[in-house]
Amino acid sequence: MDDDKKLSELLKEWQLPSAPASLDVRVLGPRKPWWNLLFTGSIRIPVPVALALAATVIVMAVALLHRPPAPPAASVNLADFQPVKDMHVRVIRRSE
């Protein structure tokens, strides 16, 4: 084994740990809770998708505004209501 290779192997015995979490905080700032995203988060969407979404919302809003009014419910007059006078009850069984 040549000297350079021996030296390289010896040098590799000095190993170091990865960067500590405290460095993450210093460089990137403190980690926020996930629900913070609901209040302060933002998303990036392509312009064509944004335009398609906006057009869909506009079309739906216009359709809602121009929807014809629902017909009034027909009134029911119970003045001439007659109860059944002679009721015949017939039981239907599975074997019939």
């Binding site: 960067a19 405290s22 460089v27």
Partner: protein, 169 residues
Amino acid sequence: MTDADLQAAYAAHKDVLFRFAWRMTGSPAAAEDLVHDSFIALLRNPAAFDRDRGALRSFLLGITRNLALKRARRERTFRDLDDDTAISPSLDIANRERAAIVAEAIALLPPLQRDVLILAEYEELTLDEICRAVDAELPAVKSRLHRARENLKRILRPLLETKGLPHGR
């Protein structure tokens, strides 16, 4: 540079920079400071990174290396930072852990030998990448690397000759 770009660059290179800075300074606390300052420098002036001149890793290593040299000059921990031909003193290795001896031997190297040696041996950069990181020509880098290895062989000769002793205590 967006937050997402910074986060991606940080995730990809933080460990390399941290280990390099630690080996350059011999101190994890100083290494944290240097890596932090390197990313701040990138954030403040992202246009300084020219993709055509090499990878972001080499660029960031160059920033960290320059900050380490500045720090060394400020703290006067080296006799002559510009003397890349300096011969390092010998080291007492009796009853010491091998990794600690290696760390001390590397700390004895002049900074202009130490940076190229760390980049070549530990981070396994190519000579071209090292040239970009230390902003030097290829012959100078080769020469410094050769001198660094010769110095280390001389300092660490007892360990190289008696493999396995003294061992990890």
